[in-house]
Symmetry: C2
Subunit: 231 residues, 2 copies
DNA sequence: CGTAATTTTGACGAAATTCAACAGTTGTGG
DNA sequence: CCACAACTGTTGAATTTCGTCAAAATTACG
């Protein structure tokens, strides 16, 4: 599932080689287990992370234990973009699955003042915001089934863009409990929604592999329009 | 309700004088009625707008008529930030109340290449994203009452920052139907939530004036933490 | 002053949650 | 390689939150 030197990846900071060249230092790689905390909010981190394999998330906890995932990151994404751009972070980041990460030293990033890098980071920020906006639409106005369908359409699109979703099928080892925290539902209800998507022959999900069986119908159900994901 | 030359406004593009000086042109002012479309998605706009008075929103429509408001803008905010930064916009903007706007010519803004302006715009973008993230938390994990309380806490904070919410009271002429589209609820349910907030003596809302009667209790109910609004 | 928009209320229905139990899968150490 | 424990997924029944429909009351506005 590792991403590297993909021909169809446009952005030069999506893969570690390009980012290392831009910063002028080789990036250390690191593997972290599922559930591992990559960034705690409030802390002053010294490294940011480019995700190479697996899925991470940004999230916020409420004081009574409720958790909301505000973003799911896929390979090629920068997990702690806020920390990279302003040195501090208002959200936490953790690993939804076992992950491989490339470490980006913040000191080095801050010292690298090329317009190239700044533009690339700003593009990432705009994209993250567009994704967040669409997530608001899902949480506010799509029911559980549409919302879940939309997430799967979005993940497929983003993974395909980095070469990780051939044939409408991709690795997704996110648990139903974590999906629930992303979708604003309970784990029980996520399970029922998945069962119904399966019964409708829209998806096949087993042992960490999600296959979209009927993409046109799933995208129609979700009212998925990839315009917001375009660079 | 007009915002201008406020001593406690830090950002030099929050008020029209500063922005006009930065761009080197005087900004035309314009009044638009309630419901007026300020920006349609997909269009290639030639002007962006700094909100001077009233409330506008960014929103997205689903094909079956459902609408989700993704951001509420207050005086000092740039309505069409995405258009200003990349020339096109993936969301629509319209006026929730009668508004006064300052017109920002995109050509002039694109030509003004000062690091100062770029930094200010990027700060706005980061802030908008932080607000969007918190909105995701509300829609995903707060119930109708908490969500409404959170929105009021946020509006009070943002309006206070531009001098428009003295004594925990501010003008808010947004209809319950529009609040519903922002909160991901139905108008009927918004009404019930407002009734219950009134019954609990947390707010007073009448003829377009919202007064927060017990701010500590309202903020606790909403689990409001203004950290995300900090510059 | 009259009409339209908005707010409020009630009765009923649907979507999602809660609680509880059980089955299946995965991972680990003996 | 098996046995066990822990986690993850699945299902049912009862309850809660929120939505829908419909109508009345109130307010805003030309």
């Amino acid at each position: 599932m590792l991403i590297a030197r993909l021909p169809d990846v446009a952005d030069h900071i999506t893969y570690p080689d390009g980012l290392a060249r831009t910063l002028g230092v080789p990036l250390r790689e690191r593997s972290v287990p599922k559930q591992h905390d990559i960034l705690s909010p409030g802390a002053e981190p010294e490294i940011a992370h480019l995700l190479l394999a697996g899925h991470t998330c940004r999230y916020r906890m409420l004081s009574d234990g409720r958790r909301q995932i505000t973003a799911i990151l896929v390979p090629g994404d920068i997990c702690d973009l806020e920390a990279l751009m302003e040195g501090r972070s208002s959200y936490a980041v953790s690993a939804l699955t076992p992950c491989t990460l490339a470490e980006i030293p913040l000191s080095k990033a801050a010292a690298t003042n090329t317009p190239d890098l700044a533009a690339a980071l700003q593009r990432r920020l705009r994209r993250d915001e567009a994704i967040a906006r669409e997530w608001i639409v899902s949480l506010g106005r799509r029911d559980g089934t549409e919302r879940t369908a939309h997430l799967f359409c979005e993940l497929r699109w983003r993974l395909a863009a980095v070469g990780l979703a051939a044939e409408d099928s991709f690795e997704m080892r996110i648990t139903q409990a974590d999906l629930a925290d992303a979708l604003g539902l309970t784990p029980v209800h996520v399970n029922r929604v998945l069962m119904s998507l399966r019964a409708d022959r829209l998806i096949h999900l087993k042992s960490g592999q999600l296959t979209i069986l009927d993409r046109p119908r799933l995208e129609q159900l979700a009212q998925f329009d990839p315009a917001y994901l375009q660079p």
